[in-house]
């Protein structure tokens, strides 16, 4: 029997809705079976907390007197993009300080969220309407006009695991990879991850309300590199990186608990972002998708020691195997380690469950579905404009 968004909202208002975290839902499926769970459960909360490089914040600083059209902007020494209207800027998470490569945009975002003031410096050529040519001051999140996180790519639907077959340690965005297949790292919340629980994007689309960094945010668009047409298992689980989300939310309402700056040694700065999505159990098909488990989610292990775009895949493994602490690669047991925090993801899923139950986090159908077919193209290096 199908449920509508309105019916679920009504049950939430009456305080009768059954809202479970994804892991609690799996227990319900064990006890009742999927068909029964599809009827008894109204909402399942999913979450992830991982490093998401494609993140950043739009800021509007307000006008100084005399005013300035900021063309180059720095926050705590980290360049922000100022090629927008006079006092708008975009601060990318991975942008590094010109003085200290271990401090970047993500750190500035974290400091702002923690309530600290950061040093703003901006320069301009000066115009008739914006005569000021330089400004230096301190700004806080409370004092700027708008500050919103706008992350072009978050919440990757599945992601490859990494290892290193070369004979030296390499330092990557997948962490420290020890030589001669010394370890395997992976980055996912697995069965708890939002897009793996709604693999065909029935309830997650443009306009879907999400938990973002501690605040309520929204899916703004398909994420960059959104690639829904990858190979999938019979259950619809993509075998590698597939769908992605562009997310937006009010930075002023976010918390350092769910937004943390990070440095991957010899790679650079990134931002750990907490994302949560409540999924309405609209029908049995959706319930069956929500019943997906780590053992059903497969990914490939790639050799990051080979510096080419199409790295060789060494093995296909399930997240249950990755979580077990070791996988078999070329006949040898290799220890595994996660990079995204399952403990934090669980905390977000539990928090979201309480918010949905209490009626403070409303579920709404997507305004527009995410594209089901988007080609994912590589970059061609051409010597001339007319070259194929």
């Amino acid at each position: 029997m199908a449920k509508s968004y309105e019916e679920i909202a009504h049950r939430i208002r009456q305080g009768k809705a059954v809202v479970l975290t994804k892991e609690e839902f799996l227990k319900a499926v064990d006890e009742q079976g999927v068909d029964r769970a599809a009827e008894t459960v109204d909402v399942v909360t999913t979450a992830t907390f991982g490093a998401m490089c494609s993140s950043g914040a739009f800021l509007n600083f307000g006008h100084a007197d005399p005013p300035i059209k900021m063309s180059r902007v720095w926050l705590n020494g980290v360049p922000a993009y100022g090629g927008l209207a006079a006092v708008d800027a975009y601060l990318g998470a991975t942008e590094q300080s010109e003085l200290d490569p271990t401090y970047g945009g993500a750190h500035v975002i974290e400091e702002l969220v923690a309530g600290k003031r950061v040093r703003l410096r901006a320069v301009s050529q000066g115009t008739d309407c914006y005569p000021r040519r330089e400004v230096e001051t301190w700004v806080s999140l409370r004092e700027v006009n708008q500050a919103y996180l706008f992350n072009p790519r978050n919440a990757y639907q599945n992601y490859a695991a990494a290892t290193n077959g070369s004979d030296r340690t390499i330092y990557t965005y997948m962490g420290t990879l020890l030589p001669r297949y010394g370890n395997v790292t992976y980055s996912t919340a697995g069965q708890l991850s939002p897009l793996l629980n709604d693999p065909y994007y029935r309830t997650i689309g443009v306009g879907t309300r999400v938990f973002l960094g501690g605040a309520q945010g929204y899916v703004a668009w398909e994420g960059t590199q959104h690639n829904p047409a990858v190979k999938r298992t019979d259950q619809g689980v993509p075998l590698g990186g597939a769908g992605t989300l562009a997310l937006i939310g009010n930075l002023k309402e976010m918390s350092r608990e769910y937004l943390r700056a990070a440095v991957f040694h010899r790679y650079g700065v990134t931002l750990y972002v907490g994302v949560g999505v409540p999924i309405p159990v609209l029908d049995q098909d959706l319930a069956a998708q929500l019943a997906i488990r780590d053992k059903d989610i497969l990914t490939s292990v790639y050799d990051y020691g080979v510096p080419v775009r199409s790295r060789p895949a060494l093995a296909q493994v399930s997240y249950a195997e990755l979580r077990s602490g070791a996988v078999t690669l070329q006949g040898r047991r290799v220890p595994t380690a996660p990079l995204s925090s399952l403990a934090k993801a669980r905390r977000i899923a539990a928090l979201l469950r309480e918010e949905v139950r209490a009626g403070r986090f409303a579920l709404n159908p997507p305004v527009q579905p995410l594209p089901a077919t988007t080609p994912f193209r590589p970059l061609t290096i051409r010597q001339a404009e007319g070259e194929e």
Binding site: F49, A262, H265, Y272, A337, L339, S341, K344
Partner: protein, 136 residues
């Protein structure tokens, strides 16, 4: 008879010399290699436990290492973990061979067992939050 743990740091190039061979053969030291990271062009690092040897033997052995350009220090350093700031991602566990840093398979929260730590310091750069540090 004494038992001690030492950290030996090799400058690049010294890895070609069979130093541990000489510790055993010439100085009769009973050694156990707890950790070794040696590659030809980089600084190398060796953590040894020396047991069943006299103080004098050990001192002569260590003097030999120093003469050859290695830096020798007792394993008095330790790793500190700022637990309150930890996000429990697990990135450090990827490089922790003795499993001093480990994720609980139920709660997926990190724990740090100081006794298992051999102070190889790999976790210091592996931690994305910079909250694993060497203290003296």
């Amino acid at each position: 008879m004494i038992k001690k743990r030492i950290v030996i740091t090799f400058p690049p190039g010294l890895a070609e010399k069979p130093l541990t061979y000489h510790l055993v053969k010439d100085f009769d030291l009973v050694i156990n290699i707890l950790f070794a990271r040696i590659s030809p062009e980089e600084e190398g690092k060796l953590v040894l436990e020396i047991g069943n040897s006299s103080e004098e033997q050990v001192e002569r052995g260590l003097a030999f290492l120093r003469e050859n350009g290695a830096q020798v220090e007792p394993l008095s350093r330790e790793i500190t973990w700022n637990e309150a700031e930890c996000i429990h991602c697990g990135a450090c566990t990827a490089v922790c061979r003795p499993q001093a840093l480990a994720l609980n398979p139920e709660s997926w929260e990190l724990s740090f067992d100081q006794d298992r730590c051999i102070v190889c310091e790999q976790c210091v750069t592996a931690c994305p939050l910079g909250i694993l540090r060497v203290s003296f």
